[in-house]
Symmetry: C2
Subunit: 319 residues, 2 copies
């Protein structure tokens, strides 16, 4: 549906995005924890995108994209299919611009997520849970309304928006040796990689991925983009397969992916809740789980970690 | 046990405390929430002391006090009786100075709190749960070790430390019409009142108190300091009676106390967890519960709220 070539954004597009969203998105704080520093033997700097509007970094990309629509396109609204953080982000971004948002959401989505999106003023269109049903319903909605489909990650404007978190982080915590993000569709890791390598080429970028949804890891290993088939992990924000932009960026930058078990994810999540008093969702705990694992050797290093989101169902905690 | 007169600190003592603890305590962020602003009709600025070291504002007062001990006194260590946030705060403050801490703690205290204090390197001395048993054991420990007893609130150095949160808040969120804190022993509200009224006399200070532990409210009404008898509230940090300093400061400054039900507290706490992604303990939700209640009229105002702490047992949530 997109009329532009799908290609990765440039560093200048990320810098422009930062200016564009400055007065709309939160500049989220970077927090530290003596306890976690002791535990890891490193200096950890946590970029708290769980405190972003909509509870996740997704608001950055949604806002950067919605802001660039022509007045004419914007007036017809924006649309997507999602039961997750992109849905909330797009609903708020649309509200900020004063335009309609149409969110196609599986009937099986938790009532609390549906209520949140409705609360931001979006129209929710229910559909069956399969990918085919979701896309068919989205197409119908777009045909009916003329709304612009906003992809959750395979859009350079979205990726540029996600990259602004890393730009802020590098200002807030100078001279990081390493930055770790989770990887799902690849929007956050791609924006981060481009932002970091263009600004501080010596800072390493690493992606954390659940073993139960490790198609990005397998894609990089095999040299071809593999679909996500029956992923199974508590990190419900990372079930999607890696996108075209993500695959291209990770391949061309030689990004390393570190995999973690669900047990490591829950342990890391609990540590953050108990010791940092921050609510992060399982997906957001993946980079810390990777940092604390045996595979990474971070002792003595300055490590940036992006807490990607904090949208959890308080009635269904894993501990 | 104290060799000094119990009197309220001056604004200069609070300013000195701010300098004294600057490199030890966190300057906690002030966060905002569009959702809560809409809900309240006001502009709310949340001072996140739940993100302070030890998970509560108590670290400010403990640090300011420990830092002022002579080298000779400090070498013998510090002591207190507490199963709550003061225990953790004193344990960390002692560790930061490299001196022993002796914490008398009821055997009935949750294992997780005991483990936290032990983790900070303090010695935990178990005792029976009654106030008499706790004080008797504290006296024994002090006699044995020569440690200095640090009172959780009736000490001007402690109150001066607690007042530093309000000094920071006024810098971070200028021109507040109103600042609300919880009230237990009265250390936080006293330090806040002195800091605010000396700096911005037109900013009102209000205390939130649970109906189930409202002896401060009743003390102000009756003009005499009443004990806390069989308090019953989910806000387990506010069970203690108002101290001498607190009673004096609240009376002389004419501070208003707004009472809230446990249901209001749980609702406010849940709002913060769900919408702000911050873990706050029930006591910390009391000022927001007061702000959202019918008694206060905050529409259109700029309101500072101190989230006093975030130490909750994740295995025993009220929702």
């Amino acid at each position: 549906m997109a009329a532009y070539m799908i290609q990765a954004p440039t560093i200048n597009e990320i810098r422009d995005a930062r200016v564009r969203i400055r007065d709309i998105a939160h500049i989220t704080p970077v927090l530290t924890s003596d306890t976690l520093d002791r535990l890891s033997g490193a200096s950890l700097f946590f970029k708290c995108e769980n405190l972003q509007k909509g509870g996740a970094f997704k608001f950055r990309g949604a806002t950067n994209t919605v802001a660039q629509l022509s007045d004419e396109d914007a007036a017809r609204g924006v649309a997507t299919h999602s039961s997750g953080n992109h849905a909330q982000a797009l609903a708020i971004a649309a509200r900020e611009r004063g335009i309609p948002a149409f969110i196609v959401m599986p009937k099986s989505a938790p009532a609390v997520k549906r209520a949140a999106v409705l609360g931001y003023g979006a129209e929710v269109i229910p559909c069956e849970s399969t990918q085919v049903a979701r896309e068919a319903m989205l197409n119908k909605v777009v045909a009916r309304t003329g709304a612009t489909f906003i992809h959750p990650y395979d859009d350079p404007r979205v990726v540029a928006g996600q990259g602004t978190a890393a730009l802020e982080l590098m200002d807030q915590a100078p001279e990081l040796d390493l930055i770790i993000t989770p990887i799902g569709g690849g929007g956050l890791i791609s924006g981060t990689t481009i932002a970091v390598h263009a600004t501080q080429p010596n800072t390493e970028v690493v992606a954390g991925e659940p073993f139960g949804a490790d198609e990005a890891y397998r894609s990089l290993k095999s040299g071809q983009r593999l679909p996500s088939i029956e992923p199974k992990t508590i990190a419900d924000g990372l079930l999607t397969g890696i996108g075209a932009i993500g695959f291209h960026v990770l391949t061309s930058h030689g990004i390393r992916i570190v995999r973690v078990t669900d047990e490591q994810i829950v342990d890391a999540m609990r540590l953050v809740w108990e010791r940092m008093k921050l609510i992060i969702e399982p997906s957001a705990a993946v980079p810390l789980a990777a940092a604390l694992g045996a595979e990474m050797e971070i002792q003595g290093k300055r490590v940036g970690i992006i807490f990607s989101g904090g949208n959890v169902d308080l009635g269904r905690l894993p501990f």
